[in-house]
């Protein structure tokens, strides 16, 4: 009896290790994460406008229906990135994400200042990351 109890305790401890390992490894093995979803629709180093989310289809879950989004998967191995975004009265922002969908930087139109956004990144040149531009568009009012 004691023997089985010890085996159970040992198994539970090992289970803790399995739990931590799976949580840490999960972002690297996920096949349906945001990057994988965007990989299907967006080419590297081009800005792709995403369709507005509808109940039938959305590129990603929990997209804000009040925003028009565009993504650009960028590869810094060929050189630095320069993004120029025209501003309007509507709220506009650019967010930068790592390959594993962690947001590491964002700037909006007011913080960037007139006349144009100028964001330049010369960090790790081997990483491919995701950037997102958002722009308000009025919702249909009915």
């Amino acid at each position: 009896m004691i023997r089985w109890l010890l085996l159970f305790l040992g198994g539970a401890l090992l289970g803790g290790v399995v739990h931590l390992f799976t949580v840490i490894i999960l972002p690297r093995t996920a096949t349906q994460d945001a990057y994988a979803r965007l990989e299907r629709v967006a080419a590297v180093n081009t800005v792709t406008t995403l369709p507005l989310p509808t109940p039938e289809s959305a590129t990603m879950p929990f997209m804000d229906p009040a925003f028009a989004s565009a993504v650009c998967r960028y590869d810094l191995s060929q050189g630095p990135l320069k993004i120029i975004v025209p501003v309007s009265l509507a709220y506009t922002s650019i967010s930068f994400y790592t390959r594993y969908d962690v947001a590491y930087y964002a700037i909006n139109d007011r913080a960037a200042g007139p006349p144009r956004h100028r964001a330049r990144f010369d960090d790790d040149p081997s990483s491919i990351t995701t950037c997102r531009k958002k722009k308000t568009s009025p919702l249909p009012i009915g």
Binding site: G11, I24, Q32, M60, T136, P138, L139
Partner: protein, 192 residues
């Protein structure tokens, strides 16, 4: 033989406990440093490089792109102020004021993060189009049937999640309590 059976038993327990805990953690919205004000909960660190491993795993599992903290902060509500789960067949009222933000939106999602189909194709409100009272407060009726004023249709679904996103706001990692951040109240008014 006893050793073999014993080891297999221990390994089976390990797999069950480990994978079970991972599954529960990722489906139950477990992430550290959450900020709860009334019915609303936010994880401001989810949109930063300081996101903990549970937040990162949740992001990867759901397939969403979190809002960067420099962009905005999303607050979710799955239950009203009394702790009653939001029901799409009931009339729920969101009322009050919001913390200072340049722009905010409130949207309604089904359990998997998809928008809910409805007859008027309205999935949310923005701070620019909402009808307010004279004192600046507002009231949004989240209901299956048409309501006067700001009506957010639920499409009659059983469970839904409300997302209140503040863009360009001071609410963030350093926000501690509800006193400095007034969040709108969520109340179930009537249920059929």
């Amino acid at each position: 033989m006893r050793l073999l059976i014993g080891s297999l038993f221990a390994l089976a327990v390990a797999a069950l406990v480990g994978l079970g805990a991972t599954y529960l953690a990722l489906t139950g919205n477990v992430a550290f440093s959450s900020l709860t004000i009334g019915a609303w909960t936010a994880w401001p660190k989810m949109g930063t490089v300081d996101a903990d491993p549970y937040a990162r795993a949740t992001i990867a599992r759901t397939g969403q792109l979190p809002i960067a903290l420099g962009d905005g902060v999303p607050f979710t509500a799955q239950a009203d102020d009394q702790g009653k789960l939001l029901d799409g067949r009931c009339d729920v009222v969101i009322s009050g004021v919001t913390p200072a933000a340049r722009f905010w939106t409130v949207s309604l999602y089904g359990p998997n993060g998809d928008l809910v189909a409805n007859s008027v194709n309205r999935y949310g409100f923005t701070s620019q189009e909402i009808v307010r009272h004279a004192d600046g407060s507002f009231e949004i009726a989240v209901a299956p049937r048409a309501n006067p004023g700001n009506w957010l249709p639920t499409g009659g679904v059983e469970r839904y999640t409300l997302l209140l996103r503040f863009y360009d706001t001071a609410v963030g990692v350093s926000t501690k309590a509800g006193r400095e951040v007034p969040m709108p109240a969520v109340n179930t008014r009537s249920c059929p």
